[in-house]
């Protein structure tokens, strides 16, 4: 061979290129597996959290095939704090727990799902998977000019410069120009978490800052969101869509869940069940300490006092030396304990009223007084505005029981001005007492009653939904004003 060194060299060149090719195939396999894994997480998140949303989930068929194939293997995997509905697939439940990420990654690159992985790439190439569109490698499979190869992979820098422009528009007050640019920004960089967070903040807070609340009569039915919305309220739902898009692409980032639950659902829409749902998801990811605190507060606002109490007790135990555990935590523990007593007292009063046996009724009443006393004791010890309001509220309810309606209303009127944080709650109770006692309502109270009556129906609502809501309201005892209904038609 010494006579033909160039043949040797040529053979070495071919051999090295062949080895390089094999290594390239291996890397390609890993990247395909990575794209498949990311899609699996995104599709599982969609099924677990957003499947009730309007719109078609085009990836369902492939996802169901994958879920069925590994169903038996993952059926006995433990899932932490699983709150998913019964009809959600095991794969979606497992994908919701980040402890199983490594195992799922092994499935994504292993032989078990080889056929599904191939199918995934084929569908991604045909642009038939909605959750594969922002995954770099899957996007590249579609060919043509796409964002994957635009800027030679430097699209993240482009996203930053687009964001600087968004920021400039905000300072210039051009909110309408910001929205398409924000969408471009996250299209260029789907992992740009701050763009999602700040974008949603702009939409739900800054865009609506100078807008008045839309009166119920002016709200229109929105078919996509299946609710009655005015212009202002529509921005909240745009913010929700924006954050949900971010969650689909970054399902392990707690900040997106937190902002969706806390900043939009809790603060803007007062939709506590949804706020709890997303805050619970935020807590399941690696998170900061304030996240569970907001979850417990939302639980309390939603009337889940026992869960809120357990949460606060756990928090105080986990972070014993912190200021929150020493000062704030105990207050919330007391507060939720007292609220649980109030609730039990209410239930016991109701049981007493329903009891046919006078002895049982008396026993229930005593039980109720006992619980009430315990609550009063806690509120008295607490000595804070909220506790004072609760004491006033309990007192007003007692007065109502004794048919002393005027005094009860006066008591609540004083309490609501002293504790503006509970103004709405006190006002609602005042209306209830006035209606019960036959006292005349003020103009603003009459308007509030009308608002409550018209709250569920609006212009443009499909007839079947309108009829259903009217029937529900009738069953709940709400009498609709015929003139009001006519105006909405």
């Amino acid at each position: 061979m010494k006579r033909y060194p160039h043949i040797m060299l040529f053979a070495a060149l071919v051999a090295s290129l062949a080895v390089g090719s094999v290594q390239g195939c291996h890397l390609r396999h890993l990247r395909e597996a990575e794209a498949f894994y990311r899609w699996l997480l995104a599709a599982a998140t969609h099924e677990r959290l957003f499947r009730d949303d309007a719109g078609e989930f085009s990836d369902k068929e492939l996802f169901d095939t994958v879920a069925r194939k590994i169903e038996s293997d993952i059926a006995d995997w433990e899932v932490e704090d699983d709150q998913a509905d019964e009809d959600v697939s095991t794969l979606s439940r497992v994908a919701g727990d980040r402890r199983h990420d490594h195992a799922l990654w092994n499935y994504a690159r292993g032989r078990t799902l080889k056929e599904e992985r191939r199918r995934f790439l084929q569908l991604a190439r045909e642009r038939k998977l909605s959750y594969a569109r922002d995954i770099d490698y899957a996007e590249a499979q579609a060919g043509g000019v796409n964002l994957f190869n635009l800027f030679f992979g430097f699209r993240k820098v482009a996203a930053n410069f687009v964001w600087i422009q968004v920021d400039r528009y905000w300072h210039q007050g051009m909110m309408y120009r910001m929205i398409p640019l924000m969408k471009t920004c996250v299209l260029l960089d789907p992992n740009f978490i701050d763009a999602y967070l700040l974008g949603a903040w702009h939409l739900s807070y800054n865009a609506t800052a100078k807008m008045p609340d839309t009166p119920p009569a002016l709200k229109r039915w929105h078919p996509k969101y299946q609710v009655c919305l005015g212009e202002k309220e529509l921005y909240y739902y745009l913010a929700i869509d924006f954050l949900k898009d971010g969650i689909s692409k970054n399902p392990r980032n707690y900040k997106l869940y937190f902002d969706l639950g806390f900043a939009v659902y809790k603060n803007k829409l007062s939709d506590y069940p949804n706020a709890i749902r997303y805050l619970r998801e935020a807590v399941r990811q690696p998170h900061d300490r304030w996240v569970p605190r907001q979850l417990y507060i939302c639980m309390e606002l939603n009337g889940q006092y026992a869960e809120a109490l357990a949460g606060w007790q756990d928090y105080v135990k986990r972070f014993p030396g912190t200021d929150i555990a020493q000062e704030v935590g105990p207050r919330f523990i007391q507060r939720n304990t007292a609220l649980i007593y109030e609730l039990r007292a209410e239930e016991a009063f109701a049981a007493a009223a329903a009891a046919t046996d006078p002895q049982e009724a008396e026993a229930r009443r005593q039980e109720a007084y006992d619980y009430e006393q315990r609550a009063i004791q806690i509120w008295t010890e607490m000595k804070e505005p909220y506790a004072e309001y609760r004491l006033a509220r309990l007192h007003a309810l007692h007065l109502t029981e004794e048919n002393r309606y005027m005094e009860a209303v006066a008591m609540l009127d004083k309490a609501r001005w002293e504790n503006p944080a509970n103004f709405d709650d006190a006002s609602d109770l005042m209306i209830e007492i006035k209606l019960r006692g036959g006292l005349p309502l003020s103009v603003s109270e009459k308007k509030a009653v009308l608002r409550r009556e018209a709250g569920d129906i609006c212009q443009g609502m499909p007839e079947d939904i309108r009829r259903q809501r009217l029937e529900e309201a009738k069953a709940a005892g709400v009498q609709h004003d015929p003139e009001l209904l006519e105006s909405l038609e």
Binding site: P5, Q23, E34
Partner: protein, 300 residues
């Protein structure tokens, strides 16, 4: 390279031919001493190049300036936007200027010596062509590594001063960037061995970088080919398939960007990094063999 340097390089290389001991290790050490001396002189020569220094200073200025770009952002918004801005701009700067430095230096070391006739002085000494090439190639790598270390170092400091946490993931990103440059450098070096001036290899290097980044397009060509059923159409498909598998795909190194903004839903990168390093090394060997194949028969 000054005349004295050339004489020194040749002298050291001559000394390298004298056996210093027994055993395989000493034989290898003796064999590599010549390339090592040439590498050191190539490096010294390289760092004196004004164009190279220009690229380096420009890149350092952009990295330094990225910290001021955050002034355009709203200071009232509490976010990590500034940090992201710095990271993205710095990684991109390192990639762009790093590639330019890599291509420029890889394309010029051999043709420049041919133009200056220095190569005749070196090869007239008892230095084999493969040793000469190895020395040149190693010298180029030293220059790339030093430049990358300078840019990466400034980026490291900028990040550390922002977050007061050692950005260790940046080291992995820089390492992957180097292996990407290694591939570009090896093939540009191979082209430069066939050229008499550095213009053609520089253009060739840019072409390698662009095609390497767009290799995934070949999949598209492969899928779309053969639709007419004609032989030529199908042949294009086979060619695209072959090229896609043989040509280095630089998009695999996009992990260097991803790793810096590591998201919790990213799959484990510890699997990919060693494979990417091996990938870079294999193609570097291919490039070097190609360079030697061209250079060994070249008439000088």
């Amino acid at each position: 390279m000054s005349t004295q340097d050339v004489v020194n390089a040749g002298g050291d290389a001559l000394a390298a031919r004298k056996p210093t001991g027994n055993g395989v290790f000493s034989t290898v050490a003796d064999y590599l001493r010549g390339p090592w001396c040439i590498a050191i002189y190539t490096w010294r020569e390289g760092i004196r190049k004004k164009t190279l220094m220009g690229f380096l200073i420009l890149s350092l200025l952009v990295i330094f300036g990225s910290t001021f770009l955050s002034a355009f952002l709203d200071p009232s918004a509490e976010s990590d936007m500034e940090l992201k801005l710095i990271k993205d701009i710095c990684v991109t700067t390192i990639s762009i200027f790093g590639v330019l430095i890599t291509i420029f230096i890889s394309a010029s070391v051999v043709p420049n010596e041919s133009e200056n006739k220095v190569i005749y002085t070196v090869l007239s000494k008892p230095v084999r062509r493969v040793q000469y090439l190895l020395g040149k190639f190693l010298g180029v790598q030293f220059i790339i590594i030093v430049n990358l270390a300078l840019m990466g170092g400034l980026f490291f400091i900028a990040l550390y001063l922002r977050q007061w946490v050692l950005p260790t993931l940046l080291l992995w990103s820089i390492l992957l960037t180097y292996f990407e440059f290694l591939i570009i450098s090896a093939f540009t070096f191979a082209i430069s061995c066939a050229a008499t001036s550095s213009v053609l290899p520089t253009i060739g290097g840019l072409f390698i970088y662009i095609t390497g980044t767009l290799t995934e397009y070949l999949k598209d060509v492969e899928v779309r080919s053969g639709q007419s059923g004609e032989f030529f159409d199908e042949m294009i498909g086979w060619l695209a398939y072959g090229l896609r598998n043989v040509l280095p795909n630089l998009q695999h190194f996009s992990l260097k960007m991803q790793i810096l903004d590591r998201a919790p839903n990213d799959p484990p990168t510890d699997v990919l990094i060693p494979h990417l390093m091996a990938y870079g090394l294999i193609y570097a060997v291919s490039g070097f063999i190609m360079a030697y194949l061209i250079f060994r028969r070249k008439e000088l």
